[in-house]
């Protein structure tokens, strides 16, 4: 297995889906079964590789980069094919291969108009390569490529298979992200030229940090901040998200919410914080304030939504706010909580978007006012929706709880370089946010799952309970939501070493 541990495993997990997309090019476009089969097999292989990687990963030293490869790539500018994972990135990589695989299964159940499964599947696989790659790249330029590569497939997924306002949503998503990533690239290049010797290697840069004047760090951080904050998205850069999420086809929404948003938060903890530690301390209060605004703003917006999918989209703004609050504390608790929150949000919101998509298949509407009585009419489906919504509001015992709890805990006593009173206020703000979150989610459950079956759906035509394919696509998420909630050490045990290393770099006691 030595070849597997020396980067081939990670490369396989990343590029198998892209290979699948290439194979699909040679399949006749009308052979539905074969197309879905190939897609599922390649995504499945990537998942399998991901699971083998889990067995090869040495959890006793999860703070170190493992399963690494470092090969020559663009020697002129000393950019290398450097990949590897540690306790921070491994959970996200596994989440990515898992959710992508579940999406390919879900596609057997449903591909929205105008059909064309071949193109749809190929784009999803290409997307997966970009997402997986972002979590293993240890070279800034390599990371940037993977970060950018997701743009085009997602643009097409939204634009071709999306809802009525898909064109607007697709273009907005693309341009907004491109705008941010260009400034991020300029930040990367500035870091490259500031480092001696010039390098794009994240690990070398981390070890060399802090370098450059404080002004340099602040300016470079601003560039990175724009790129990552738009991807997360943080308030006030979030306006692309409700449109993109609402209009995207189910699988697109799931991948966007579950994984692509994490590329932004991951960028903060993998790149911005360790390489520009002084600037990170300067920016942390701003990030914290924006995060709490996002939490409360997201929750308030949710109260006003009439479209279920849009409501879930706005709830993402709030949840990612908790993740960013955790990061802003620059503490062990906060950042562990942030990673926990990323994974939990991926599982829960992914699940919610699956449910919203399936609901649309059954009722042909997403208007909350038109829905109701699911627990009576399709009890299993209604139960799943209630379960996911309750997990989302952060009920202890389910995955959503720990991320929020740790983020708030971290803000009680933030990094010594940060203002304690400010973060105490932020903690209170976040606390209010959790109450509001519970409020709108329970209200949504009440309106959608409980109550009477509306008149027009009373005949129950086309409205069926959860089918087998849906169970197959959803079971892993449902189980993991519970498992991570009951036994948080499952995740915290992996992330903690790496987070401690990071916090150590920031000069905090943790």
């Amino acid at each position: 297995m030595e070849w597997f541990d020396n980067g081939w495993g990670l490369s396989l997990a990343t590029f198998l889906p892209a290979l699948g997309a290439i194979v699909l090019l040679f399949v006749p476009p009308d052979n539905d079964r074969l197309i879905k089969m190939i897609g599922t097999v390649f995504a499945g292989l990537a998942l399998l590789v991901g699971l083998v990687l889990l067995t090869q990963f040495d959890f006793s030293r999860a703070g170190d980069i493992q399963l690494e490869a470092n090969a020559e790539w663009i020697s002129q500018i000393n950019s290398r094919y450097h990949i590897g994972v540690d306790g921070m990135s491994l959970p996200l990589l596994v989440l990515s291969v898992l959710v992508s695989f579940l999406c390919t299964i879900y596609m057997w159940f449903h591909i929205p108009a105008p059909g064309k499964p071949k193109a749809f599947m190929a784009l999803v696989l290409l997307l997966e390569t970009g997402m997986n790659g972002s979590f293993i790249a240890l070279d800034l330029l390599l990371f940037f490529i993977f970060f950018e590569i997701v743009l085009v497939p997602m643009y097409f997924l939204i634009g071709i298979w999306g809802g009525p306002r898909r064109e607007y949503a697709a273009v907005k998503f693309f341009l907004y992200t491109l705008f941010g990533s260009i400034f991020m690239l300029l930040g990367f290049l500035a870091i490259y030229f500031k480092s001696e010797p010039h390098t794009f290697d994240m690990i070398a840069l981390r070890d060399a940090a802090p370098f450059g004047s404080e002004l340099f760090q602040n300016v470079a951080f601003l560039g990175l901040f724009l790129g990552f904050a738009i991807k997360v998205p943080m308030w006030p850069f979030h306006t692309w998200l409700p449109d993109a999420h609402t209009e995207a086809p189910t699988v697109g929404s799931v991948l966007l919410a579950a994984i692509m948003l994490k590329m932004g938060t991951y960028g903060f903890i993998r790149i911005a914080l360790p390489i520009l530690p002084d600037a990170a301390i300067n920016y942390a209060p701003i990030i914290g304030v924006l995060a709490v605004i996002a939490i409360i703003y997201g929750a308030l917006c949710c109260f006003a939504q009439t479209d279920l999918k849009r409501l879930i989209a706005f709830s993402s703004v709030g949840h990612m706010g908790f993740v960013m609050l955790g990061i802003a504390t620059l503490t062990d608790e906060g950042i562990n909580g942030a990673i926990f929150g990323m994974v939990a949000h991926g599982l829960i919101t992914g699940m919610l978007f699956f449910l919203a998509g399936s609901m649309h298949e059954r009722y042909h509407t997403r208007e909350i006012a038109d829905l109701g009585g699911m627990l009576q009419q399709i009890p299993r489906f209604g139960t799943l929706f209630t379960y996911a919504a309750i997990a989302s509001l952060g009920l202890p015992g389910l995955a959503g709880f720990w991320g929020e709890m740790l983020a708030l805990l971290g803000s009680y006593q933030p990094h010594p370089g940060l203002s304690e009173p400010l973060f105490r206020v932020l903690m209170v703000g976040g606390g209010v946010g959790t109450v509001l979150t519970a409020g709108y989610l329970l209200w949504t459950v009440q309106r959608v799952a409980q109550g009477r079956v509306p008149e027009k759906f009373a005949d129950g035509r086309g409205i069926h309970d959860v089918v087998r394919l849906e169970w197959m696509a959803w079971a892993p998420l449902l189980v993991l939501i519970l498992a991570a909630g009951v036994y948080p050490k499952l995740l915290l045990g992996v992330t903690d070493d790496a987070v401690q290393t990071l916090v150590g770099l920031l000069g905090g006691g943790g």
Binding site: P29, W73, I74, S75, Q76, I77, P114, A119, L126, L141, I145, E148, I149, L151, V152, Y155, F156, G159, I160, R166, E167, A170, V171, F174, L175, L178, F179, I182, F183, L185, L186, L189, A190, Y192, F193
Partner: protein, 491 residues
């Protein structure tokens, strides 16, 4: 300089025939095509195209034979074969083949003066190939005229069409004017230094009259600014592109424009690098104007060729950014800027020619040039739509196409030279540009088709577009394919 003089002395007597072999092959091909056309019956005139293609492939073979043969200087130092020259000769020939593929059905079906067209096109291509090696003022001027003059005639080949006449006339007037301005600038440089060879000018420049040099550089740059359609000297380009036969527009937008840039780069890096302080601000201003104005006007275009024309103007702006980064003595960052310009031009040529090829393929039968009519193309002809989308995405500079690296390297050079303002303006422009490239993609993929029947694409075009797209993807995955060449092309 002694060495150079000796070298020149040594080679002046005997012409290095091997060094000029590519030009000889190409010139011979042009003559053969012209003569063959006289003897070919009307329905066999199209044979001029395979004949031209064979000639260009022969030229490529001659170019390949020169690889690794070291730097060669001949014709009294006016003609040099080095990494730079070989790279651009190769780029021109590859683009020449692409243009031939674009032209074939267009001219065969339209029966527009096929023999003459291929002859003119080969002559113009020869201009580009000579330009890559030109190292003195006279040769550079001859090369630029060799590129331009056949272009004037090619632009007017659709004699019956008033727009084509207008295109040719505009192009001619602006072209002649710019040549005159450029020539005047060159004469000033000659007057100030008494040298024609670029190396000689560079050596004597420090002693020369400064205002004279500033004026000279200014006029030369303005002259070239017309050729590369930089704002505010761009007015002719959209009208000329629109009115010309589309393959000619493709030619003007790629080979002709890159030819202008090659001349500009050679002059600036070989003759005037030490006085970069005088011309850097001119380039910075040109770059900012060209990018911004080109993109802003492109936003409003409804005609695909005009869109490509304005987008091509903006693309010139990105290359000008690289030239605006040069500082006397800053070797490392100058080399980076030089390489980024070279990389950009090489990638730009392929992606732009690809986009033109797709537009010509679409318009070929009953189709039109209006972006309106591209709606739903994906449902009608998925391959054509995907290829065009690929070229446009490459022009926009996003993965998974090579255009991404073109922009990244210019950014890299800009940050190294600490020209943050240029980098930011270019970044914002890249976002604006993405909007109009995506607008076409949107039309093709997100909207419903009004017609159902597929667009028939001739095999030649299909192969050409497929190869171009494959090359762009390959360079994206493994950028060393071009960075290596760019590194070897350093002067």
């Amino acid at each position: 300089m002694m060495e150079l003089a000796q070298q020149v002395g040594a080679t002046a007597a005997a012409v290095d025939w091997h060094a000029i072999a590519p030009e000889l092959v190409l010139a011979a091909t042009a003559c053969i095509v012209l003569v063959a056309d006289l003897f070919l019956p009307d329905d066999a005139k199209w044979l001029a195209m395979p004949l031209s293609a064979a000639g260009i492939i022969g030229t490529l073979a001659a170019i390949v034979s020169l690889i690794g043969a070291g730097n060669r200087l001949t014709l009294a130092g006016a003609f040099e074969v080095d990494g730079f020259a070989l790279l651009f000769k190769g780029v021109f020939c590859v683009l020449g083949l692409l243009i031939l593929a674009i032209s074939f059905h267009y001219f065969r079906v339209g029966r527009y003066y096929q023999g003459e067209y291929y002859f003119l096109m080969l002559c113009s291509l020869l201009g580009g190939v000579v330009m890559s090696s030109a190292r003195d003022l006279v040769t550079i001027f001859i090369a630029i005229e060799l590129i331009s003059i056949p272009g004037f005639i090619m632009a007017g080949l659709r004699k019956g069409d008033a727009k084509s006449n207008e295109a040719a006339l505009k192009f001619f007037l602006f072209g002649v004017l710019s040549s005159a301005v450029m020539l005047y600038g060159m004469s000033l440089a000659y007057g100030a230094t008494g040298e024609l060879l670029l190396e000689g000018i560079r050596a004597k420049l420090t002693a020369a009259d400064e205002p004279l040099i500033v004026l000279s550089v200014f006029f030369i740059v303005v002259g070239f600014a017309f050729k590369i359609s930089a704002v505010p000297f761009h007015f002719w380009a959209p009208d000329t592109y629109e009115g010309s036969p589309s393959p000619v527009a493709a030619f003007l937008s790629t080979i002709s424009k890159i030819g202008g840039f090659v001349g500009l780069i050679v002059l600036m890096f070989r003759a005037f690098p030490d006085v970069a302080d005088t011309w850097r601000p001119i380039f910075a201003l040109l770059a900012i104007l060209t990018m911004t104005v080109g993109n802003m006007i492109a936003l409003r275009q409804t005609h695909i060729i005009r869109l490509l024309a304005y987008s091509g103007i903006a693309q010139s702006g990105y290359v000008l950014v690289a030239l605006a980064l040069i500082e006397p003595g800053a070797t490392a960052s100058n080399e980076q800027a030089f390489q980024s310009a070279v990389i950009y031009l090489a990638i730009y040529g392929i992606m732009d020619a690809g986009a033109f090829a797709a537009a010509v393929a679409f318009a070929r039968r009953g189709g039109s040039y209006f972006i309106e009519d591209y709606s739903g193309l994906w449902q009608r002809s998925p391959v054509l739509a995907t290829l065009l989308a690929g070229f446009l995405i490459s022009l926009a500079g996003t993965p998974p196409m090579a255009g991404f690296w073109a922009k990244v390297f210019v950014f890299l050079a800009a940050i190294e030279a600490q020209s943050y303002l240029l980098a930011i303006v270019m970044g914002l422009n890249a976002v604006v540009a993405a909007w109009y490239y995506l607008a076409v993609v949107k039309k093709m993929f997100f909207e419903k088709a009004e017609l159902a029947e597929p667009v028939e694409v001739p095999a030649v075009l299909r192969v050409a577009m497929g190869l171009a797209a494959a090359a762009l993807v390959a360079v994206f995955v493994y950028p060393r394919l071009v960075t290596e060449l760019a590194e070897r092309s350093l002067f």
